[in-house]
């Protein structure tokens, strides 16, 4: 591979990484910070409600104490399109959750990116912004430069 080709490849890699930046950016809501945490626990409630679906989960911390976590998802109208229903979970289910954001305050509150069902199936959602980052294709055209 000659130097020119190499340069093109490298520049492409760099540009791709830059293009990924918006995906890594903060979700914008002041109450949360981006943080991926994996937690195993027992479901105590699966609330199929507006504005957002909530999951309550009892998780044992390192000291053996039970911590009552609340997971925030998105509206039922969105969740159904990712395969979730009002019956996806029930109290007593042993599951694993993966957070996308956790409360800045330190409260055990999180936004969820994934839920691993008792049967091992991995369920994903698009996260907080209901996919706006993907949906807005022509916004930039209207931006004030």
């Amino acid at each position: 591979m000659n130097a020119n080709v190499k340069s093109i490849v490298l520049v492409t890699i760099v540009l791709s990484l830059i293009a990924c930046l918006p995906l890594l950016a903060h979700h914008g809501n002041a109450a949360y910070e981006v943080k991926t945490v994996t937690l195993k626990g027992t479901v105590t409630a699966w609330l199929w409600t507006n504005p957002h679906v909530l999951l309550k989960l009892d998780v044992k911390d390192d000291g053996g104490n039970i911590v009552h976590w609340v997971g925030e998802l998105v509206a039922p109208s969105n969740m159904i399109n990712f395969g979730f229903t009002a019956g996806t979970l029930k109290p007593g289910d042993e599951i694993t959750i993966v957070t996308s954001d956790v409360a800045r305050s330190g409260a055990p509150i999180a936004r969820l990116a994934q839920i691993v069902l008792p049967n091992g199936q991995i369920m994903k959602t698009a996260g907080k912004y209901d996919g706006n980052a993907f949906a807005r294709r022509d916004h930039e055209a209207n931006a004030v430069k």
């Binding site: 130097a3 020119n4 190499k6 340069s7 490298l10 520049v11 890699i13 760099v14 990484l17 830059i18 990924c20 995906l23 890594l24 914008g28 809501n29 002041a30 109450a31 991926t36 609330l47 409600t49 507006n50 504005p51 957002h52 909530l54 609340v70 509206a75 039922p76 109208s77 969105n78 159904i80 399109n81 990712f82 395969g83 229903t85 993966v98 996308s100 409360a103 800045r104 305050s105 330190g106 409260a107 509150i109 990116a113 994903k124 959602t125 698009a126 996260g127 912004y129 209901d130 996919g131 706006n132 980052a133 993907f134 949906a135 807005r136 294709r137 916004h139 209207n142 931006a143 004030v144």
Partner: protein, 307 residues
């Protein structure tokens, strides 16, 4: 050789900057929803996503916008969580506020987008299930709508909040408005065979224009243009006219595309229930606020100790 060195340096620099972030997110990187989503209607039947339906670009029927419509770019495209589609709250789309307009906006503590407030401080009236109102019903969570035309009026039925608007087409004029309404008073006229123009006035000033608290006065006038391009496609332009708060009219939507959905599509419920909102506010907002207060107190105590 020099170029090569430059490219290598850029690459090395980039990997240093980006590698930790990429590695951290690699396993649970945000998912492109297009790859995951199915589309399910209210009857719990998977149906083709609107962008995957066979296209029918036959001419539109004359003076007819009836049918069930969804955002043409996919069901999630009309969510507009960060504000009106054409003016998202991202710091790059300033509105032509008057000083009074800007002042009113600053009193609205919204929960999404650039400069949003912590949940516990948010004073969005829709958060406590006040009616979402017009025009916010077009500018926040615009999902499936059904348009029904009768000889004297046209109805727009919305998935969001399970509400409808009546647009009178019987030639009447606006009433002498003494009672503002959440959804206002609407009159529609055909500008041509494919363009239905609706004017709405008499709007309740407690409502926000969009999810990021853009304010309006009771003198707000909204113009909507439903332009049917062909059988499948309709474009919605929505103009905000409120000289007290905005120095010039602005298009919150500009030819926003909607596509005709199959007529057997069941529009699901999406209702703001007070008891559900209360649970949400308690579990998410109040809990986070309480923890924040405790954290602040601990910090204060610590500072005191260190003195």
């Amino acid at each position: 050789m020099h170029k090569r060195f430059l490219a290598l340096s850029i690459a090395a620099f980039a990997s240093l900057i980006f590698a930790p972030a990429v590695a951290m997110h690699a396993q649970y990187a945000p998912v492109n929803p297009d790859e995951l989503e199915v589309h399910v209607d209210g009857w719990n039947r998977p149906i083709p996503r609107i962008d995957q339906l066979p296209k029918n670009s036959a001419p539109a029927p004359r003076r007819d916008i009836s049918g069930t419509w969804e955002p043409a770019e996919g069901w999630r495209n009309g969510v507009q969580a960060q504000g009106a589609y054409n003016y998202p709250m991202d710091g790059k789309h300033p509105l032509p506020y008057t000083p009074e307009g800007e002042k009113a906006w600053k009193e609205h503590k919204y929960g999404d987008g650039f400069g949003s407030y912590p949940l516990a401080e948010v004073n969005d009236p829709f958060k406590m299930c006040d009616p979402i109102g017009f025009p916010r019903i077009d500018l926040h969570d615009l999902r499936a709508i059904q348009i029904v035309q009768t000889p004297k009026k046209t109805l727009v039925v919305y998935e969001n909040d399970q509400v409808w608007r009546s647009i009178w087409t019987d030639g009447r004029d606006f009433p002498k408005i003494t009672e503002p309404r959440w959804y206002g008073y609407s009159i529609g006229k055909w500008a041509d065979d494919y363009t239905f123009v609706v004017e709405t006035t008499g709007l309740d000033e407690r409502t926000w224009i969009d999810n990021t608290g853009r304010p309006h006065t009771k003198d707000l006038k909204v113009e909507e243009q439903f332009h049917r391009v062909n059988h499948d496609l309709m474009e919605l332009t929505l103009t905000i006219i409120d000289p007290k708060y905005y120095t010039k009219p602005w298009n919150a939507l500009d030819k926003y595309p909607l596509r005709l959905q199959t007529d057997s599509f069941d529009i699901r419920e999406m209702v703001c229930s007070e008891s559900e909102a209360e649970i949400y506010n308690k579990e998410i907002a109040e809990e986070a606020a309480a923890a924040q207060n405790q954290k602040n107190q601990t910090q204060k105590d610590q500072n005191q100790k260190n003195k």
